[in-house]
Amino acid sequence: MKAFLILEDGHIFTGKSIGSSREVVSEIVFNTSMTGYLEVLTDPSYAGQAVAMTYPLIGNYGICHNDMESQKPWLDGYIVRELSRIPSNFRSEDTIQNFLLKHDIPGIAGIDTRALTKLLRESGTMNGMITTDENASYEKVLPKLKAYSTGKVVERVTCQEPFTLEGDGCRVALLDLGAKKNIAHSLHQRGCRVTVYPASTSAREICEARPDGIMLSNGPGDPKECTSIIEEIQKLYQTDIPIFAICLGHQLMALATGADTYKLKYGHRGGNHPVRDLETGKVYISSQNHGYAVDTESLNPAIAMPAFENVNDKTNEGLRYKGKNIFTVQFHPEACPGPQDSSFLFDRFIQMMEVRKHA
């Protein structure tokens, strides 16, 4: 079956339908990772977006359910150059074709994903529609495209009930804003007892559990939409509990302490972004997935100082909070997909908790 990708700026790509044949309007973004398509598919931060993979050959090693970063794929649509006819890997349990169908994810294959990427690079992230309707015309769908916004997506992707991964090390409260599984896993693996809370959990409830540290996770959407969560984070900031935050969590902490965020032209999504540790000058290759960034100019030096920056475009990649046991990063030390170079940050967090525990 034919499928079409209609962009807000009038470009139309014709390809083959993959996955569900239902119509979807979404924000179109691209990801440059060469491996880890399943991790991308199941990263809740993509809720409200359709993702184009710049690597042209997708599905080569099939689906291994263990590699899913959440219970299901959250993205709205999937755009690829070519899906592999067969999967080949000793762990593969399913084909990507089935996976998309099973989870009702609409997609399009066989389009020039490089041309699409260049459009997004030049014009910035834009909305689009994936449809199998041969009669869909740009004029007809344009109002829908214009009207689309990702909205309050965090509510959709967060867990419904708190749950705990047992461990005898530090007790971590993980606020699930759309957390990738490997954040909890990275802490749990290091011996932490991790309790995962829904995004709507109040600061009081979290503090009452007397955690050794609080972890704010990644998540989807515009950080400024998360008004009530920001309020709770303000309260968490006031405590002296060590806090480590990733991605959306990092942005929310910045907003909670008076700084500003802005939308990047086309975001950072991939596994090759260099970030510089401003303290040591060392550069790490990081896994990234964000469309918004903290505005360095808006920082109050009395509150927060840049800790990491992106070597390519000098955007903010992390903050250290003055007089607080708080540090936050824009990139993904939990990797999955992508480089594991910055996983030591979890150790740093644990050390921070240990120091305070024994103080």
Partner: protein
């Protein structure tokens, strides 16, 4: 960290002559690094014995020494030039080994010279088997169970312990020389004994066999501050067991999930950090196909063939960045030259698929075993890029120039299922074609995988191509089907054959339906950032993104494709210089080439680079878009020349000598006419098509005769026949290599062989110098020792040569370069070959005369006159020193190849000896070629009857030098009669101890064995020569070479060599 201010003058060590396992990739890396250092204002001193390289140009380094790569020479050079630093990581294993030797001598410390790029501790940790193993164990990186042994007995004990098969890897050898897999004790004993001998330190690693595991490589970079990145990873389609240089390689890996990819990436970064490498490094892994278990196979703490491939596959200039790191910069301070926006501290992201195929020399060594093992055999490689794997594979196949254009090109249709299954057990260079046939015969993926261990993902891709063949054969060719076939990389001619139409019809159908090649960029970042110096690859069914340029005149430079015997880096040297010259004249330059090892495919050589096959169809697609004002074909060897006709049909003007005149030199009848008109004699000969005609011609001319196909390079298929039986056999061989052109039978003249390269502007000629061959006619010019200036011919002969060159160049209307080979018999001069194009000797003669022939020829092509360019036409004055070009062979790498020299070229590379006296030049040339005598002062002589007289004189001279001479009966008798103390040795077929035991006993330095002319019907000589080569003994097969060697030994003392800076010439 900024540049280290203490570094001001750097000695860069190159890799020496091209041999299998160490080829053009080091010229590419070295050239890039030297340019990168000069860009920083540093003074660069270069040492490399290879004159065919671009790095040994005076434009590339400030001081250039084309001298033998020995520790003594490096010492002398350091004392003379006083560099403060030495950069050894760009010259391959040769450069690294030299640096280690000097470090061990304590020379660097004593002279306050620092090793930059990487420390000697690092080199030791990575290269020494024991240290490597303990380092890996320390950081918890698994290696296959292994033991370093220094004798065969220990090897046997350990192998019994871990179980056969075991892999054997000698320490400090390149390209896996002397290594192999032993399946039982007998094989172990043989391979191990040999490996111990070839290892520089007498060590061989015996290890658990992990053959069949996935072979994965990572190219990683690290700077002095400890920042690390991965440039790319690569997956070998051929699992562990085949040397990566002989494997089909794909980048990035295709069958690894993110968990496996990151596991190995993290491991590679841990390793490079622990080894404290500053620069580039290659880590090879074996990954268990059904678990996360892996082993580190090898670490190369330097740039390598794989890093050249990774650079071209990603656009990340590893050597350039490595050089900057060596002088102190950190990755985040070095700009990414392709994007101009990002820094070198990022990881390239590919949005395409890259396939590399090895170029194996079995078309040259017909008798050689085609089996692929851990010993590398490929002389070169091709790379192709596409947005799908099928297209990349198809493009790579036709880039090979081995008469292959699809998966049907080797015909296995007559094999039964069982035969196919049997043959799949042996890995050879035709395996993917055999797999295609297996699929056609309905052998299941699982069965193929079970035998070959090739991942089914790749088998499925081959199946997709086979299915397309079937569809094209069986179904109506619709526009949709044609689109799909083109997307998968099927060339028009293959589609035409399968659909029963003509190529023209297919082409017309494509143009009518706009099914045209589009070009995408290699930009290092998957389009995330705009690129400033990208290069291009073709795809079908996507949007074109080549930027249209129309402001300057455009020239298309056709490259020379993969490195093969007969067409080496000399042609890349010519292509690059031609490109630079056009650029200086204000032209926009466009290069088309597919060889990832070369300088010409570096991102910043031409204004635009198309990484594409060099076939008429692929070139036409580029021409359609670029509409060049002209094309130059005379610098790209036979590869480019073969495209002349097609370019003319496309309406592209050929710049320089016209196509008709190129043809005239190749067409026997036309050429004879020209010679006659010019009153120039040539050896008598005939053009024939059949064996009968050939025999008739041979008898009329009188034996011996030369038999060869027309339109060949490197004397491929050329042989000297001494009787009818030889003629029949040769014609049979020639006809096996698809031959559309006639066969030439010429009278064989034994005389002095002389060669000139000349520039002609249509009226005047310029001959930089006359080169004379040491070996008399009958041995291919590429395999002969060549001497400039010619020293044994009379002024009269020189004048005749000049005059003949002028007449020929004029009557062929040569505009640009011409290469002519002559034979002088007494004062009589005959022309034996004319090539109206650049030749193998162009870089050599340019460097030793200081006359930049390629830029000159380029200017002439653009309409300038020699006289206006500041040169006096004619033969230039001779230099006051001698330059000797010595061929270098890779025979030890090719099991079963006959090493006897003849009209067919066999050498893979060359080195130079340059000195005030002929003898010193000769000595340097031998030294550079690795012929290092004496150790034991024992030698064997066994010569053919024609050479016996001359052998006496040579033997006497060796005897005077203190050599003990062994000889077989016939030779011994002649020598004894001349009062030479000779020891008789038994022939091969006689009982032990015989000549073979002598060779295998390792007490012999040199074997002089001249095979009889014609086909050698006895197998003895072959066995002796092979055994000698594989035992690491020097073997000379021409009496003239032997005389040259003894002359050089008589006259020179290595300690007193004079070093000459070529840049001053």
């Amino acid at each position: 960290m900024p540049k280290n201010p203490e570094i001001k003058k750097v000695l860069v060590i190159g890799s020496g002559p091209i041999v299998i396992g160490q080829a053009a990739e080091f010229d590419y890396a070295g050239t890039q690094a030297c340019r990168s250092l000069k860009e920083e204002g540093l003074e660069v001193v270069l040492l490399n014995s290879n004159p065919a390289t671009i790095m040994t140009d005076k434009d590339i380094a400030d001081r250039v020494y084309i001298e033998p790569l020995t520790a003594d020479v490096v010492e002398q050079l350091i004392l003379k030039e006083k560099p403060d630093s030495v950069l050894p990581t760009l010259g391959g294993q040769a450069g690294l080994n030299l640096a280690m030797e000097l470090e061990e001598r304590g020379f660097f410390r004593k002279n306050n010279v620092r090793l930059i790029g990487t420390t000697s501790e690092t080199i030791k940790k990575a290269e020494d088997r024991l240290e490597f193993k303990s380092t890996m164990e320390k950081i918890g990186e698994p290696v296959a169970a292994s033991l370093v042994v220094e004798n065969v007995e220990d090897g046997i004990v350990f192998s019994n312990q871990i179980g056969y098969p075991v892999v054997l890897r000698p320490a400090y050898t390149l390209g896996g020389s002397g290594g192999g897999i032993a399946h039982n004790q007998a094989e172990l004993e043989e391979i191990l004994a040999n490996g111990l001998r070839l290892s520089r330190v007498g060590q061989v690693l015996v290890e658990r066999c992990i053959a069949g595991w996935k072979e994965i490589e990572y190219e990683v970079m690290r700077d002095g501050a400890g920042n690390c990145i991965t440039v790319c990873n690569m997956e070998n389609i051929d699992p562990v067991g085949v040397h990566t240089g002989d494997s089909i390689v794909v980048a990035p890996s295709q069958t690894l999930g993110d968990k496996e990819y990151q596991m190995l990436r993290t491991s590679a970064l841990n390793i490079i950090s622990e080894l404290k490498i500053t620069g580039g490094c290659n880590v090879q892994y074996a990954l268990h196909p059904e678990s996360f278990e892996y082993c580190v196979i090898e670490v190369n703490p330097r740039v390598s063939r794989s890093s050249a491939l990774a650079s071209k596959a990603t656009g990340y200039p590893i050597a350039k960045v490595a050089a900057k790191i060596a002088i102190g910069y950190t990755l985040d301070e070095i700009p990414n030259a392709i994007t101009g926006q990002t820094m070198a501290s990022f990881e390239p992201m590919l949005d395409y698929c890259v396939v590399k195929l090895p170029r194996l020399p079995f078309d040259k060594f017909i008798s050689a075993k085609r089996t692929l093992t851990t010993q590398m055999k490929a002389t070169g490689e091709v790379m192709s890029i596409c947005d799908n794997f099928e297209g990349a594979l198809m493009k790579a196949i036709r880039s090979l120039e081995q008469h292959v254009d699809s998966l049907m090109s080797y015909d296995f249709t007559s094999l039964s299922k069982e035969e196919i299954l049997n043959r799949l057990n042996v890995v050879d260079d035709r395996r993917i074609w055999l797999i295609a046939e297996a699929i056609r015969k309905d052998i299941s993926y699982e069965e193929i995988h079970e035998i070959t261990k090739i991942d089914v993902w790749f088998i499925d891709k081959i199946a997709i191509l086979v299915e397309m063949e079937e569809t094209l054969k069986g179904r109506e060719l619709t526009v949709e089907l044609l689109k799909e076939a083109k997307r998968m990389g099927f060339p028009d001619n293959v589609i035409a054959n399968l659909t029963g139409r003509s190529e023209k019809e297919i082409r017309a159908m494509r143009y009518e339906n706009a099914i045209l090649a589009a070009y995408k960029m290699v930009d290092t970042c998957a389009a995330e950032f705009a690129a400033s110096t990208p290069y291009y690859y073709s795809v079908f069914g996507s949007e074109n993104e080549v930027v249209k340029t129309r402001d300057r005149k455009k020239v298309l430079v056709l490259g020379s494709g993969p490195i093969r015997i007969g067409q080496g880096i000399e042609f890349d040297f010519c292509s690059v210089h031609c490109t630079w010259a056009f650029s200086k004249e204000g032209y926009e330059t466009i290069i088309v080439n597919n060889n990832p090892e070369t300088v010409s495919t570096d991102f910043d050589i031409a204004d635009k680079l198309y990484f594409e096959p060099l076939t008429p169809e692929d070139v036409e697609s580029i021409v359609r878009l670029e509409k060049p004002d002209g094309a130059v074909v005379q610098f790209g060897g036979q590869t480019a020349i073969k495209l002349t006709e097609a370019l003319m049909k496309m309406g592209v003007p050929i710049l320089g000598t016209s196509a008709e005149n190129v043809d005239a030199a190749e067409d026997r009848e036309l050429f004879d006419q020209i010679l006659e008109d010019c009153r120039i004699p040539r050896p008598k000969g005939h053009t024939v098509f059949t064996a009968e005609e050939a025999k008739k011609a041979a008898n009329e001319l009188g034996y011996p005769v030369l038999v060869r196909p027309s339109y060949v390079l490197g004397g491929q298929g050329m042989q000297i026949a001494i009787n009818d039986r030889d003629v029949e056999e040769f014609i049979g061989i020639i006809n096996r290599i698809a031959q559309e052109h006639p066969i030439l039978v010429d009278k064989y003249l034994q005389g002095k062989e002389i060669e000139v390269d000349a520039v002609c502007d249509g009226e005047d000629i310029l001959i930089p110098g006359i080169m004379e061959h040491i070996e008399r006619a009958g041995i291919h010019s590429g395999d002969s020792i060549s001497v400039y200036p010619a020293r044994s011919i009379s002024p009269g002969v020189k004048a005749t040569i000049e005059e003949y060159t002028r007449r020929l160049a004029r009557s062929l209307h040569v505009i640009g370069l011409i290469n002519i080979q002559f034979i002088a018999v007494g004062d009589e001069v005959y022309v034996i070959e004319v090539n109206p194009r650049s030749s193998r000797t162009v870089p050599y003669i340019s460097k030793v005369t200081g006359i930049p022939i390629v830029p000159l020829a380029t200017k002439v092509i653009l309409g300038n006159k020699i006289r206006d360019l500041g040169y006096t036409p004619g033969l230039q004055p001779e230099a006051d020193y001698f330059a000797v070009k010595m061929p270098v062979f890779s025979f030890e790498k090719i099991r079963g190849a006959d090493i006897g020299l003849g009209p067919e070229m066999k050498s893979t590379g060359e080195c130079l000896g340059i000195a005030k006296t002929f003898n010193e030049a000769l000595y340097k040339a031998f030294l550079g070629a690795g012929i290092c005598l004496p150790r034991h002062k024992n030698m064997i002589m066994t010569v053919r009857d024609e050479d016996k007289e001359e052998a006496v004189e040579i033997a006497k001279r060796f005897e005077a030098l203190g050599y003990c001479i062994y000889a077989t009966k016939g030779t011994a008798r002649v020598l004894m009669e001349a009062d030479i103390q000779v020891r008789l040795t038994r022939k091969l077929e006689q009982e032990s101890p015989n000549i073979l035991d002598l060779i295998l006993g390792h007490k012999i330095d040199l074997v002089i064995d001249t095979p009889s002319q014609g086909i050698e019907h006895s197998h003895d000589g072959f066995v002796i020569r092979r055994n000698a080569i594989e035992t690491g003994v020097n073997v000379l097969t021409a009496i003239d070479t032997a005389r040259a060697l003894v002359t050089s030994l008589e006259n020179t003392d290595e300690k007193a060599l004079t070093l000459i800076d070529i840049a001053q010439i």
